[in-house]
């Protein structure tokens, strides 16, 4: 059996194990170890693969340090969620949009976009605003499909607007600069937020019964509400802007912003010791869950390198004379398919080692691909049957049927699709800002 065939059989075995409910980390490790052993024999496999967990320790200087950014960014978001910053943000966005039909729904999108600037997790963003925005929209008689759909969709901004956990993990897998990736995602993230608000504006015009008009607030009240968002602005300055101003490395920015979130939380009496403990617990549990998959993905990528599967794939694509657009369309289809049963981080860890060499070989930029994969992830987060942010919204509002929330996100998916097409047609949407800020 050729090594390329071994690689293919291992990938099929990986998918089979995953479908049998085996944890993704275990499926990655077992299929890769067996594939590696078939190609190289057991002694080499033991020597090469068994010590991979040590790569996430200081035994391999530099590699482990680059991973410290992951728990620190998760911690910042977890602390900010518990320090009630989301409520102030929602009040400010609501004041800003007041007087407009659908103001609360637009405020939900606006405040989720702003919260995403300090929280890199879509799940955390959706969970936070489910608690804040949905009760308000219910109180004012909003249609429940719209209310839940807007929160589930706006939650996806958490992984697109920097700092983004998906982009951080992509940077570690693809060995690309976090700084460039954050810059690259900025314009698509803002465009998606604007797109979602436009969806609400269109719905307000064609189906006004879904959302009542809200009374306008005086300018002074709007300014006061906006002034209340200084905490978030400070954290964004430290976590993201500080990287571009050369103040901090990404790890330092994440640490300093986390520390600032803790200090602000305690100083404003919104964060308790119990809240800090819960944020820490959530962070280490999430980190452990992620890094276990990362170890599996490292082993999988060793197998992929050994089998030269991406090179064979690129050669086949080149030989078949397929245009880059056909390849990208096929990749979109693949991500949509994987998105029906796999969550986003796992999808990224499994696909990037295989697809990145192919994508760069047909002329696309690795930074662009990071943003592309993240936008595909936002689609996956709200697409049935495994729309994670939809599940989060439903878990916090169990009285609302899942189908209703999935129906609610459909109009917002249109904005996602338009962004995806724009990103493929105009790659500069992602590649321009990193060049300017370099």
């Amino acid at each position: 059996m050729s090594v390329a065939t071994i690689g293919l059989v291992s990938v099929v075995g990986l998918l089979a194990l995953m479908m049998l409910r085996v944890p993704i980390a275990t499926a990655l490790t077992i299929s890769s170890v067996l594939g590696y052993a078939a190609a190289q024999g057991w002694p080499v496999t033991f020597r090469t693969l068994a010590s991979i967990p040590y790569e996430l320790t200081g035994a391999n200087p530099g590699v482990a340090y680059s991973f410290t950014v992951v728990p620190l960014f998760i911690f910042m978001g977890a602390v900010a969620s518990r320090a009630q910053m989301s409520s102030e943000l929602f009040a400010a966005a609501n004041a800003l949009f007041s007087g407009v039909r659908g103001a609360l729904a637009a405020a939900t999108i606006g405040s989720c976009a702003a919260f995403s600037a300090i929280c890199g997790s879509s799940i955390a963003t959706a969970a936070t605003f489910s608690r804040v925005a949905i009760p308000e929209m219910r109180r004012y008689g909003y249609d429940m499909e719209l209310a839940t759909g807007s929160v589930a969709s706006a939650g996806t901004l958490g992984i697109l607007i920097p700092p983004s956990l998906i982009l951080v993990i992509y940077s570690l897998v693809a060995e690309e600069s976090i700084k460039s990736l954050f810059a690259a995602a900025m314009i698509p993230g803002l465009l998606l937020a604007v797109g979602y608000i436009l969806v609400i504006a269109v719905l307000a015009r064609v189906r006004p019964h879904l959302m009542p008009a809200s009374p306008s607030q005086p300018v002074a009240a709007r300014l006061r509400a906006l002034a209340g968002t200084w905490k978030l602005a400070l954290l964004f300055l430290l976590a993201v802007v500080g990287i571009y101003l050369g103040w901090f490395s990404p790890t330092e920015a994440a640490a300093v912003a986390s520390f600032a979130a803790v200090v602000i939380g305690f100083a404003s009496r919104q964060l308790t010791l119990r809240g800090l403990w819960e944020a820490g617990l959530e962070t280490v549990q999430t980190t452990a869950m992620l890094f276990i998959i990362v170890i599996g993905a490292f082993i999988f990528s060793r197998l992929i390198v050994l089998t030269q599967f991406p090179a064979v794939l690129a050669e086949w694509v080149g030989g078949a004379g397929l245009s880059p657009w056909v390849v990208i369309a096929a990749i979109v289809a693949l991500y949509l398919l994987l998105g029906t049963f796999l969550e986003e981080v796992s999808t990224l860890l499994i696909t990037v080692p295989v697809l990145l060499p192919l994508v760069t070989s047909i002329g696309f930029d690795a930074i662009w691909f990071g943003v592309f994969v993240t936008v595909m992830s936002t689609v996956g987060l709200i697409s049935p049957p495994v729309g994670l942010t939809v599940f989060v919204v439903q878990s916090q509002n169990p009285q609302i049927p899942l189908e209703k929330i999935f129906r609610g996100v459909i109009p917002f998916l249109i904005a996602d699709v338009i962004l995806l097409i724009a990103l493929v047609a105009f790659p500069a949407l992602a590649t321009w800002l990193p060049k300017v800020l370099a």
Partner: protein, 167 residues
């Protein structure tokens, strides 16, 4: 000892390990922030801060890893639960068995590099911390996760606390 008593003991151990991981996380944040502040304000950076952060990461991750296996919080594709709900219990046991096999693979084969590091006496570049301190948490975490997986296999999941997903 009854199965419920075993589960209770393991749950308590997992909680202590999680607490150790949280302390490491806060230490990582604290030392990095202190380094930035001292460097910016008085031009006196903390020597070897990256090594300290790496050391903390090792504890933060590997001490929390057994908890992931205890709670059955590993990310899985559970579509089959809808198609064949009657298979769910058996498949969960298969998953626990395969996870235990994976962890045994790591726990056994990670010993060699650890022993080598102890024998060679390698230390970190800046603070001269013996490298075994960086690697030992990884091995201990894998062994404890293996123990927890075997308990889950024999006695069932330890607790069903929800864990936030990360995407």
């Amino acid at each position: 000892m009854t199965a419920s008593r075993v589960r209770a003991v393991v749950a308590r151990c997992v909680l202590w390990l999680d607490a150790l991981a949280v302390v490491a996380l806060i230490a990582m944040m604290g030392v990095t922030t202190a380094d930035v502040a001292l460097r910016r304000l008085v031009n006196r950076p903390i020597s070897g801060v990256t090594e300290l952060a790496e050391l903390a990461l090792g504890f933060a991750f590997f001490m929390a890893a057994p908890g992931v296996f205890a709670r059955g919080a590993n990310i899985t594709v559970d579509m089959i639960d809808q198609w064949k709900p009657q298979w769910s219990k058996g498949l969960k046991r298969l998953a626990a068995l395969l996870s235990a096999v994976m962890l045994a693979f790591f726990a056994w084969h990670m010993v060699g590099p650890l022993v080598d590091i102890v024998e060679f006496g390698d230390t970190s570049a800046d603070l001269q911390i013996p490298k075994v301190w960086f690697m030992a948490p990884a091995w201990v975490g894998m062994v404890l996760a293996l123990v927890v997986s075997v308990v889950v296999l024999l006695a069932g999941e330890i607790e069903s606390a929800p864990v936030e997903e990360a995407s």
